[in-house]
Symmetry: C2
Subunit: 210 residues, 2 copies
């Protein structure tokens, strides 16, 4: 905006001196044409960033909802059971998966609520305050998403391969489908955090051009 | 910077008209006084943000080094042993703690290397490109830090309380000192990520005032 404004004032000064030197009627026409043409590409690139922001936000929302749904429905019953006990694995057998489900629910809700603000950024590309609000909230939400995804990933890893030193056995031999579902949810959550990280960098670029 | 430049040109125009109206010798003195005083508060607030950035970065470096050192020296031998086996817990018994150590080492190295750049931001508060580079790298490093901290935290939680559904027993009854050391390292790492998150928000504010 700074250099755009400098360019503007230079353009405004130039036709004035031109009008003084030749005094023709065509000078105002070229004057309006240049002032309209000069800020257009900058506003356009800002609008492009805002549209890319909206599209990436849509993908992130889809990934977050997918992660929440996959984890919430991760449930496997084994086909054999004793008189007193049926072998079943569900997401709420592990506290960290419950944490994962709650945080991904919050992240999905935030992303859906942030979509209208992203649309406002497309309509008004110079609203720096709104973009600053989005970058701060995106940073917090990205931290929450990646923390829950990493915490769940480390338990999924233990479920897959166990830990002989702590005598924790792998449970994925018995509960293969459950392990697949939770792994898929973790991957979807990591995709969400990667998209959010990209959104933060994009917003920083948009703020810089202000 | 945009409004600062506007203010500058306004200040420059004003004393010229003053000098024309009264034509005294004192006019240039007040002219230099105002041009020096007007941009100072804006440059000052930017410099203040840069100094705060440097101080927070110092604290984050200390926390990251502390986390790395605490995890690297987490080692406990039990006072009893059999003929073939001595009971010992070390950080490399758990893959996630090795991952934690490596990432926290990288984060410490990055934070130490970023300190000179932070000093450059204090000296030249209007270097927006450098600040943009710092915000992008800080975002990536913050994501890495919080991911490794969360992954380690979920294993520390399992070590503390176990998981009866997966038949994973808590090992902290036996290895109390080891658990304390790893918990402290995880807390230090979470403090690092919180400081990095604050640094990102601070950089976004500094970019906005550009």
């Amino acid at each position: 905006m700074e250099s755009g404004r400098n360019g503007d004032s230079a353009v405004i000064n130039m036709p004035e001196s031109k009008a003084k030197t030749n005094g023709k009627g065509k000078a105002p026409v070229t004057f309006t044409a240049t002032t309209k043409a000069t800020p257009q590409p900058r506003g356009g690139s800002k609008k492009g960033i805002a549209i890319l922001d909206f599209i990436l936000r849509l993908f992130a929302t889809a990934a977050a909802i997918g992660a929440t749904a996959t984890m919430g429905t991760a449930d496997q019953q084994l086909p054999f059971f004793t008189q007193f006990f049926q072998f079943e694995a569900q997401y709420d057998d592990f506290e960290v998966f419950v944490f994962f489900l709650v945080t991904n629910g919050i992240v999905s809700a935030y992303l859906i609520l942030s979509l209208p603000f992203s649309i406002v950024c497309i309509i008004r590309p110079y609203a720096a305050g709104l973009r600053l609000l989005l970058i701060i909230l995106d940073t917090v939400i990205m931290a929450v998403t990646i923390a829950s995804a990493a915490a769940a990933a480390s338990v999924v890893y233990l479920a897959h391969s166990g830990n002989p030193n702590a005598n924790w056995l792998a449970i994925c031999q018995q509960f293969g489908d459950f392990c697949q579902a939770t792994s898929a949810a973790v991957v979807a959550s990591f995709i969400t955090s990667a998209l959010l990280m990209f959104l933060i960098v994009l917003s920083a670029f948009a703020l810089r051009r202000n």
